[in-house]
Symmetry: C2
Amino acid sequence: MRYRSHSGVWMVMAMWVAGAGSAGRARGDEGMWLFNDLPKAALRERHGFEPTDEWAKHVMLASVRFNSGGSASFVSPQGLVLTNHHVGADTLQKVSTAERNIYRDGFYARTPEEEIAAPDLELNQLVSIEDVTERVTGAVPAGASPSEAFAARRAVMDRIESESLQATGLRSDVVTLYGGGRYHLYRYRKYTDVRLVFAPEAATGFFGGDADNFEYPRYCLDICLFRAYENGKPANTEHHLAWSADGAGDGELIFVSGNPGRTRRIYTVAALKHQRDVRFPLTLDFLRRREILLQQYGLGGGEFERQARDDLFGVQNSRKAYVGMLGGLQNPATFVAKEAAEKDLRARVDSDAALKKHADAWTRVEEIQARRTQAARESASFNSRLYGIAETIAQLVVEDRKPSSQRLREFRDSARASLEQDLYSPAPIHGELEKTLLADSIGLFIERRGGDHPLVAAVLQGKGPEERASELIGKTKLGDIEARRALVKSGPDGVARSDDPLIQLARSMNDEYRRLRTIQDELNELETQAYAAISECLFAAHGTGTYPDATFTLRLAFGTVKGYTENGQAVAPWTTLGGAFEHEARHQAKDPWLLPKSWHEAKDQIKADTPYNFVCTADIIGGNSGSPVLNRQGEFVGIIFDGNIQSLTADYYYSDEVSRAVAVHSSAIRETLRAVYHADRIVEEIGGAAKPAESK
Amino acid sequence: MRYRSHSGVWMVMAMWVAGAGSAGRARGDEGMWLFNDLPKAALRERHGFEPTDEWAKHVMLASVRFNSGGSASFVSPQGLVLTNHHVGADTLQKVSTAERNIYRDGFYARTPEEEIAAPDLELNQLVSIEDVTERVTGAVPAGASPSEAFAARRAVMDRIESESLQATGLRSDVVTLYGGGRYHLYRYRKYTDVRLVFAPEAATGFFGGDADNFEYPRYCLDICLFRAYENGKPANTEHHLAWSADGAGDGELIFVSGNPGRTRRIYTVAALKHQRDVRFPLTLDFLRRREILLQQYGLGGGEFERQARDDLFGVQNSRKAYVGMLGGLQNPATFVAKEAAEKDLRARVDSDAALKKHADAWTRVEEIQARRTQAARESASFNSRLYGIAETIAQLVVEDRKPSSQRLREFRDSARASLEQDLYSPAPIHGELEKTLLADSIGLFIERRGGDHPLVAAVLQGKGPEERASELIGKTKLGDIEARRALVKSGPDGVARSDDPLIQLARSMNDEYRRLRTIQDELNELETQAYAAISECLFAAHGTGTYPDATFTLRLAFGTVKGYTENGQAVAPWTTLGGAFEHEARHQAKDPWLLPKSWHEAKDQIKADTPYNFVCTADIIGGNSGSPVLNRQGEFVGIIFDGNIQSLTADYYYSDEVSRAVAVHSSAIRETLRAVYHADRIVEEIGGAAKPAESK
């Protein structure tokens, strides 16, 4: 599955990365296009269709971002939001208890009153995009050092965001595009009162489990329905997607509107080799370690298994994705085209008087990689929810004494509401799981620093990792939300006096945390400057027929519904609901290929030939999970939930030969809501009030 | 479970290690004692029992080593050998097929004719020990360089072994003890015609699976019966263990006779820190990687799952053991006593005119660790059975042109028969599994060397790891035993001309393989010299009341049957057969806590209060799996199969406070053979013909 891109696990990896940009001119159906720079000419030429501005605006306003990492869309005028089961899974876990396992057993609110409030979801609806490149780059004085440039850019971005927030009341983010070549201001309407309406059982939402993940053919009802509320009432969502009567046909043009999390297509050869030789292997070691840890925790059975389940699936998903990404980079063939293109571009730059000043950008990127290698195994943090809270509080009270423009970026005023929603989330925290994660994380810290490092002694206080973690988690008060608020309120002096052991630990890590942060910020700044230069060269070489690397902001991809060939066999673009039962039988109905009771009971009522999952050539990546698939009328025809195994190299390379995005068909959703789940009020809600979008 | 110590997985790790030695005077029931240097005085003082020479000789001759890695004993005069299910598992897998899963379903040969020949087992019965220290150390000229010393020592060891083999016809191994402080010649009777007699279902042999492994209380029938044959007839094994009528009682003195694989108790503080900071973390990353890989392979279901099963359990077992070992070393408390003892000994050495020459041994060990760190991530081999065969053949034909005494040690004449049994083993090799393992191993090689290393290009030949592995395994002829023989026969020229792609790959790795081997040999030699010096200091300080570190040779441990306290709760030393059903019910009879059908059918016939598993304080480690537990009469009272979780630090530290060895009780074996498996001829065979041993 294309996992939500900003889950806890991803964040560990994501910390790492500066922005990126486009690799050159898009080919075929390649591209994750900006809504304010759609490839209208290419669409007209390739597919005989040109979206109007109204069409684009409607799709943009009907698209929804799960700020926790994932995509979605409004599918009714009453705020109904459709996303993937695996995007909603984090919330499904949080609203589950030992007694009521909503994640496993599913949920349907028969009445509006039964809809369950999510503890800490934030949904974003993009309402406008403004190019602020000149103001951002103009704020950096000529001849500024990297740290001066970084500070100046951070300050102007904060000013732009704060002004916008004040003027409009909208969430306002300056987004770095093309690795620093462009800066756009994105304004979002936020929804923080979000309630669960419907989820199927995990057994069908994630049918086939880790084994079928990233494979095709597939049979997953990977969907989940929420509702956005405003002022205690269902939000009025005039812009929403009408449900297509039949969905898309084979070979039909489709669009995907969603928030791809990250790609690395602008990366230079040196930067990709750094991923291959340093970053991906380290990430994989970490993921495998975490996977085994969570498996072992789950062996305790019952409640232990339940607590570990969602994280485990996320980790397995990332591990499988990274194995594919690394395998691709380890294939020498991958570098052949990349090296040739880079050589061409550099030759052109060398011979162009206007671009020559950018000629050393590639060397600069290479030097940055060497420094990244040095820093790659250093960290000053620990992996546990409660430790993360302690770290946030310890940093927050110090940062808040500075003007917003000078703070670490995550503590700026304009992002405060989102930060607080997370910091004061009432989502359950599991003590035993926290102990397990923290003990392992302390162990990893010792491995990476060496047991004789002075910080190790400070962390352990003479105890072994397990014993120390037990003590820290056992004695902290940070499980209590009011205790968190009180600490924040007490300010730096109060936090300094706190006897909470996790707060004390976070404070003792502070110098090292700041030291590493400064290194990362400087490397990111240097990389931003180098990629901005490379982007200028690309614009000069390829004009505007290009798109920036993914940045977990709204993009439009397009393609066609289309099968492919694997090991000489044709793979059909469609599966059917009836096929799910056959797939179950092929695996002796053994977990994870056991359909839930509800499906078996409804088998006779389900139209077996209803299209279920399908593939298309649209250019997607993690973060696109939950993206609506649309036809040219702007109608909803499906929802993205995965890519096939061949698509894993999309991180750095798009191909429509065998790479495919995988979606749940709109008809299968309506059919199962009707026949299996008897969710009549929902069927009525999505079926009625269709508002056709314009197109020409 | 205390896994067999020389399985494929272990060998990967074991390559690493030089010998070791004892850490000082043994305390309490500590010690893995040499049969020619038993702690008679300590036994008399602590337990009022002194074994006679006859007693010791009888026990030694009744003990059996599984050369594949594990321990066992003769339990009848007709060559019947009792070991663990998990020691026999490798053979159970090899004699299983897609149609007949003996590993999973168990086996019982109702008649001698039904006994199944193991494809490549070698059992060793130790018949004599001779101290050859003077001859070995005398062969190294004063002032020899490390490589000269290494060559001289290798040559004299080979001569001693070859002479002994020629004179006696017995397998003859010179064993390095006390990390180089002593050299003993061990002579073994070999059994290579070994047949499977009985194995229970894996569901009871490994009841509780990875979750219960290294835990206590336990309920495992972790046993397996083979028979040694000579000249096509059951071997005449006059020395065998009589079955105790009732087994051992609480608090009773017991002995464990077996082959502990490796301990690190002589290791200096610097060497242990190297394990903590470099070696164990690398090993764990490797094990987790392999564990996930085998799990993923098994997700294919059916035959895939079967092929991966035994390796997977072995890897999980090692991973769990290393996690415990590393956790112990990461606890600062572990080093307190070790550092104090080392400081004392060094002070004594500094102030002793005769020992002063050894004063720099600790610094030398420390310097060696730094060099080991440098070399730790380098390898010139790949993890696949077929590649291993190619590598062996490529080296063998070159080595065989040298005199035996100058060859790499594994190619010496005196070890040839064992090497050939392995090289020409008809055990099945699974092509798809080979591809998976080799692809991953090539991937790891790239990670460790960096993708731009020239050897990487030579390995990949322009293809990705998966594609290349598929090609190599798909095209090699080494699956055919006759092809292997023909290549060996064709000599270096024939091998050089071979178009077998795996042979070509092994040949292209040769220079690097030799380079690394030379580094390892030199480091091992330097370490041997340093530990020999440290051993001399220990002998001077503590006299002979000490024992050498484990070397996968026969040792005698002793202790008492004794419970312990965990989290304030008393843990009883015994479980019962009836308790197994209760343990099953506590886990809802879900895999791996589902007892086999045979047990459920026989439930009413089983005496529920029969003692099943028990714990004792004997000092054991991996390789002791299958060791008989004896009472002072030398009667069989149980069989070791595991240690509890607290015992994992036994690698470098013995304690009898809460560390325990875990065994299957003799009465449970007889009772289940009778009531569940109706293995009447076996019950009769072990029950009759008891030959009581003498004791005083």
